[in-house]
């Protein structure tokens, strides 16, 4: 036996050790990549690419550049002080007749309407009239056809169209827009709603997060300290909402809270109120329904963290002289913070994107930013605005996550 061992050890080793290790490691890595690849591709195509496209749409708009190529090219040299020269008007005449022939006036008019309301229809009619122009000078003739072409702000808009990238949608999303000389000015009051809506989204999310924490923390504590038999039953009741459709739960709230709903009928019958209370289609209904849906998301991380805290810690604190509340506050509560942080972050970020619930149980003043994203996407077909609002929401969320990370530390978050 011993001779064999000696012989094997004595053989000259032709392959270096490092290479051998690499070969084995490579196979293992390959196996790991094969396992993750389907998910990786799914995330790439269903998540990263659409979001990337959305972020891109928020700053990219080549409508004017492609549909009015001559004018935007001619305006590159314009200094933007007085009206442009004859060359630009000639180019405009060419673009107008091309737009008429290719029936693209609608698209151009719509794009112009975004920034200068009312210019769209004027543009369409001037395109129709411009067909008759056959020779220059075009400047006087075009101004004759439509006063639009004597407006400085219209030309500024066309000049901005010479770039495929625009900050217009992002500016609008935070209630700014371009002035007549392409300078950035505040939007007129009847157009500046988005800052308020972002603040509203933030406010509702904070309110719902706080409500779920206040309701969820004591319940999580109870669940974590009760004997398993009782706590399992309670736990089923807590996660029951998870197994019910979001739409069903929200509609149930409508049944409960409406003017002649269950809650109002009971309160009236008990003579606690004389008039039906406004419980739905306002902020109360929105926060109530959202809190109900979000409660398990806040509660479960807190619960699972509490389960890991040994009860002996509180006993130790008591034996060291701390009263029941002091022991809870200084020893137990700090250890639940990672769970609180995880639960609140989860609920807060989910709340920022709520759409269905405020749409069903909220009033016009309770719609959150997602409602406007959907509105621009489905009804106005203004994908630039939808993308810009979405991009700002995403950025704000990432920013909040970053601040949270700085304050609490994401590595301290525990889901269980």
């Amino acid at each position: 036996m011993s001779t064999t061992v000696v012989q094997i050890a004595g053989e000259p080793d032709t392959v270096p050790l490092r290479l051998k290790l690499q070969r084995i490691e490579r196979r293992r890595k390959l196996k790991a990549v094969t396992l993750v690849l389907p998910l990786l591709l799914f995330i790439l195509f269903a998540f990263v690419l659409p979001i990337g496209q959305m972020m891109f749409n928020a700053v990219h708009d080549s409508t004017l550049l492609t549909l009015m190529p001559r004018t935007t090219a001619a305006l590159r040299a314009w200094d933007g002080k007085d009206l442009p020269d004859e060359v630009a008007y000639a180019a405009l005449a060419g673009d107008l007749s091309q737009a008429w022939e290719q029936k693209t006036m609608g698209a151009i008019g719509k794009r112009m309407n975004y920034e200068l309301p009312g210019t769209g229809s004027e543009f369409t009619s001037s395109a129709q009239k411009a067909r008759t122009l056959s020779a220059g000078p075009y400047k006087a003739a075009l101004i004759e056809i439509s006063p639009l072409w004597a407006r400085h702000d219209v030309w500024s808009l066309l000049k901005r169209g010479s770039s495929a990238y625009t900050a217009y949608y992002l500016l609008r999303s935070v209630d700014y827009q371009y002035g007549p000389d392409s300078q950035i000015v505040a939007s007129p009051p009847d157009n500046s709603i988005f800052r308020m809506i972002f603040l509203r989204t933030l406010g509702i999310s904070i309110a719902v997060t706080a409500a779920t924490l206040l309701l969820g923390f004591p319940l999580a504590y109870l669940l974590a300290t009760l004997p398993p038999k009782t706590s399992n039953l309670l736990m089923i009741m807590v996660v029951l909402p998870f197994w019910t459709s979001l739409l069903v739960r929200t509609t149930a709230w409508v049944v409960l809270l409406q003017q002649h709903g269950v809650v109002n009928d009971v309160l009236l019958a008990l003579h606690l109120i004389s008039q039906p209370a406004e419980l739905i289609y306002n902020r109360v209904g929105t926060v109530l329904a959202m809190t109900h849906i979000q409660l398990p998301f806040t509660l479960l991380p807190i619960y699972s963290v509490m389960k890991t805290i040994p009860p002996i810690h509180v006993r130790a604190a008591r034996s060291l002289g701390a009263g029941p509340f002091y022991a809870f506050w200084k020893v137990y509560f700090p250890q639940t913070l990672p769970g609180i942080a995880a639960g609140c972050l989860l609920t807060f970020i989910l709340c920022l994107g709520y759409y269905i619930t405020p749409a069903l149980v909220g009033g016009p003043n309770d719609q959150m930013i997602s409602y406007f994203v959907a509105h621009y996407t489905n009804e106005e077909l203004n994908w630039g605005m939808a993308s810009a609002l979405g991009a700002i929401l995403l950025t704000a969320t990432l920013l909040l996550y970053y601040v949270f990370n700085k304050l609490v530390g994401v590595d301290r978050i525990k889901l269980g």
Binding site: H313, R315, R318, L320, G323, P324, V331
Partner: protein
């Protein structure tokens, strides 16, 4: 050494039941003297930890009273009892540094900041962890964590310190080292320690007195040597140290000694410790190291023929398992101090022992 004249802790007729049917602690009466190191020793489920928890205030006695310094503490919540406590799982607060852990009982008591600082330094020096004050418990080894837990239980100068199997999670070598450390700390400070363990070696090493628990009752309360040399019943004899048991029947009683008949082997002279009357069954208890090998005939009152079944060499001593008196689990310990008689498995020998080394106890 303890002054046993005044009872610092007094359990009188204490009972405890969790389910209302079985008593975990049955009619416990126990006096613990000021400055004493008392160990509650027993197998798991014997009621020793429950007794400790009642003293700490985490469990309420179903019946009876506990006095601490002459005052009944039944209605006193745990944090008012001023009792230091060390747990098996250390129970250090993971979100605090070592220093913050140590400061906790002092802050609760509203001590001045400077005072807290000096006490922490002194406590860390006592457990030789001076350089670890800013670490978190998770960054310390098990032994270091237990030292911090010990320092934390002592830092507020409690008069009574309870320890619930504090060394159970440590490895053997560290455990033995910590046993001595705890013993020395107890000797250096004016404290009373009530220590719970199921490890008899630990109990023998550290204690002034040991209360052996079984089945909710104290079987014997005595100093370590007394407990080992003079066990009062078969449970204690078997639980503390190694023990040969021979079952027999009392045939004659003669003052302090008795004659016990072992079926098919003859009569044994033994000390009558816990025997009821002639004709009753009894268990003879005999320490393996007190058995003499091949004694001169007539030199000892009890000499029997035996056959060596197995010999195990253990360095400092040799263990021989022999068949005698109808049993084949009789163990003889032979010290390796001089050239002992070489014995081999299968050889026929005689063994003998003195009357005073053989104790007739209750039949289990």
């Amino acid at each position: 050494m303890p002054r046993t004249d005044d009872a610092f802790v007094k359990f009188s007729s204490v009972q405890k039941t969790y389910d209302g049917q079985t008593l975990v602690v049955k009619n416990l009466n126990l006096d613990i003297a000021r400055g004493e190191f008392l160990t509650m020793l027993g197998p798991s489920g014997s009621g020793k930890t429950t007794t400790l928890m009642m003293l700490a205030g985490f469990e309420v006695p179903t019946h009876g009273t506990i006095l601490l310094g002459g005052i009944p503490i039944d209605k006193m919540p745990p944090h008012k009892r001023d009792i230091g406590m060390v747990f098996q799982s250390y129970a250090l607060f993971p979100h605090m540094t070592v220093e913050e852990n140590l400061a906790f009982p002092l802050k609760v008591r509203n001590l001045a900041r400077a005072d807290i600082g000096t006490r922490i330094k002194r406590a860390l020096d006592m457990v030789r962890l001076g350089a670890y004050g800013t670490r978190r418990p998770g960054q310390l080894s098990g032994g270091q964590q237990q030292r911090v837990a010990l320092a934390r239980a002592l830092i507020f100068d409690p008069k009574l310190v309870l320890m619930d199997e504090p060394l159970g999670a440590l490895d053997k070598q560290l455990r033995e080292q910590m046993q001595l450390e705890i013993k020395h700390i107890h000797e250096g400070l004016d404290i009373t320690v009530v220590y719970v363990t199921h490890d008899q070696g630990e109990a023998l090493t550290m204690s002034d007195r040991i209360a052996v628990f079984n089945d909710g009752v104290i079987q014997q309360l005595a100093a370590p040597a007394e407990l080992y040399e003079r066990p009062q019943n078969a449970f204690v004899a078997q639980f503390i140290g190694e023990n040969n048991r021979l079952q027999g029947r009392v045939v004659a009683m003669n003052g302090g000694t008795c004659k016990v008949e072992i079926a098919g082997a003859g009569n044994v002279e033994a000390l009558a410790i816990n025997v009821e009357a002639v004709g009753r069954p009894t268990v003879l208890s005999l320490r393996p190291e007190r058995v003499k090998l091949n004694p001169t005939p007539g030199s000892l009152p009890n000499i029997f023929a035996a056959e060596v079944a197995e010999v195990i060499y253990l360095g400092d001593h040799v263990r021989a398992r022999v068949s005698v008196c109808g049993r084949d689990d009789f163990v003889v310990k032979l010290p390796n101090s001089e050239c002992v008689v070489q014995i081999e498995a299968g050889s026929a020998i005689t063994i003998g022992w003195k009357t005073e080394d053989c104790r007739a106890l209750d039949a289990l």
